[in-house]
């Protein structure tokens, strides 16, 4: 089998694969940014004095964390066009699904990060005459995010792998692009092995980077 491994097909399909990787990276970046922004909001709601906000955020996180990502993707893929009354294309549905889904996971990381900052910092901020909001924004969150960087990046690697699941709605990400070539040219072994190698190299490079960062950041 290895003897007739066809490297030619990989070179020939390079443009398709690169386009796919573009979609994969686009999804990853938007879901990270959206997930962190919305996740921070969820974390602040969770830690809020207002019971209602804390309750809503808690149930949101529980529900998304108990549901498989594929089911969430299907939800938005089928439901978004019905709700807004016109087709908007798979990419937008999937982007919404990933952002909302990842926000649930990011909010847990961010909540832990905020809680890792000692309480005396809040008192210090308030004693200096800052408002609650200012204390959170200028004192707590910057420290919290600094503590969280390695975990946030690890979650980003998980997210990068998770984007391959858009295959189920036929969005042409890296894996789906490779799959198209695999089926079209009957080169299943070559294409899937290549896909695995590429994902592996990117993820392992990412996790080595995170480990290095962790050593630098650890106090």
């Amino acid at each position: 089998m290895i003897d007739n491994f066809d490297f030619q097909i990989i070179l020939a399909s390079l443009p398709i694969l690169m386009d796919g990787m573009g979609i994969t990276l686009l999804l990853t970046v938007i879901a990270i940014v959206g997930g962190i922004v919305f996740g921070t909001l969820l974390a602040l709601m969770r830690l809020s004095r207002f019971r209602v906000l804390s309750f809503i955020s808690g149930r949101y996180v529980d529900a998304f964390r108990a549901t498989p990502l594929i089911l969430v993707i299907f939800w938005f893929y089928f439901a978004v066009p019905i709700v807004i009354g016109r087709p908007i294309g798979g990419l937008y549905s999937v982007l919404i699904a990933f952002t909302l889904f990842e926000a649930a996971y990011y909010s847990e990381i961010i909540r832990a990060g905020i809680q890792s900052v000692t309480r005396s910092q809040i008192y210090a901020g308030l004693a200096l005459g800052l408002t609650q909001g200012q204390t959170m924004r200028h004192i707590i969150l910057p420290q919290a995010f600094r503590n969280m960087v390695p975990v946030l990046l690890t979650q980003a690697i998980v997210l990068f792998q998770d984007t391959s699941l858009v295959y189920v709605v036929g969005l042409k990400d890296f894996l789906t692009a490779a799959d198209l070539v695999a089926v079209r040219d009957n080169r299943v072994v070559e294409m899937y092995v290549t896909t695995a190698v590429v994902y592996f190299l990117i993820c392992i490079a990412g996790s080595i980077f995170v480990k290095k960062l962790q050593r630098q950041y650890s106090i």
Binding site: M1, I2, D62, A63, A66, T67, P68, L69, I70, L71, F74, W75, F78, A79, I82, V83, I84, G85, I157, Q161, D162, S164, L165, Y167, V168, L175, D179, A182, V188, V189, Y192, V193, T195, A196, Y199, F200, C203, I204, S207
Partner: protein, 248 residues
């Protein structure tokens, strides 16, 4: 903006006069989700324990193999691994085996999904087991060895009984991970809960009803498992640890 949608919950329950009793599909899907998850978990727990322990031993070769396993399975997306097991591995096996897997093995997609999920999650469980063992102060190992226990006995009677009790919460979330990730098996044709609900959604267009039911089923099973595990955890909790103080 007006939402054009006809709610019809009866679609799921209709039997008389309906060609397809759709709720049966959902139940069958849930059944397969549970079966595949449990079977995969057995592989995960066994293999994950072996690899986790191997990562803590003194032999560099064994440690190295275990590390390679963990890095390998952790850094390739589950869906890619699913395709590799299903489409590539049978091609790489000796010809007779490959033919057996492709032709004679009953329910090949189900077996593939179980092996794939089990081995993928073993890399995560291995890390939990390793962390559990490493969280025990070295002094305990030395004490065991000083008392004349062999390395094996130290693991068997000192390190493992304590570390498994510590890592029950992360092991539970690993199981929940398998349970949710079993949905990835739909890509190779396993008709589990998510696959069945998508099928019903495509046939009936009553997507809100069917996805609501599927989501609630996932949440319900999660809640059941979490509740059971909380009891188990309370039962085996080690007296004197911080966790003990949190008991309500």
């Amino acid at each position: 903006m007006e939402m054009k949608y006809n709610w019809d919950w009866s679609v799921l329950l209709c039997r008389d006069g309906c060609v397809q009793p759709y709720f049966d599909w959902i139940l069958s899907g849930l059944g397969w989700t549970v079966v595949v998850s449990f079977a995969a978990w057995i592989i995960t727990f066994t293999l994950g324990s072996i690899i986790g322990i191997a990562r803590t031993v003194d032999q560099p070769v064994i440690k190295g193999i275990a590390t390679v396993y963990v890095e390998f399975f952790r850094n390739i997306p589950l869906l890619v691994q699913m395709f590799i097991w299903y489409f590539v591995v049978p091609e790489l096996l000796p010809e007779d085996w490959g033919r057996w897997v492709k032709r004679d093995l009953p329910l090949p997609e189900y077996w593939t999904a179980i092996v794939c999920l089990g081995m993928y999650h073993a890399s995560r469980t291995a890390e939990q087991v390793r962390a559990g063992i490493e969280s025990i102060p070295q002094g305990q190992t030395y004490a065991g060895l000083a008392m004349g226990l062999t390395r094996f006995q130290v693991y068997r009677h000192v390190l493992l009984p304590v570390s498994y009790r510590i890592i029950i919460p992360p092991l539970t979330s690993d199981f929940m991970g398998i349970f949710k990730n079993s949905s990835v098996a739909l890509t190779i044709g396993v008709l589990e809960l998510t696959a069945q609900s998508r099928q019903i959604a495509e046939y009936t267009f009553n997507i809100f009803e069917v996805f609501t039911v599927a989501t609630l089923l996932y949440i319900t099973v999660t809640m059941i498992v979490v509740t059971i595990m909380r009891h188990v955890e309370a039962k085996v909790r080690i007296p004197g640890t911080i966790a003990m103080g949190e008991k309500p």
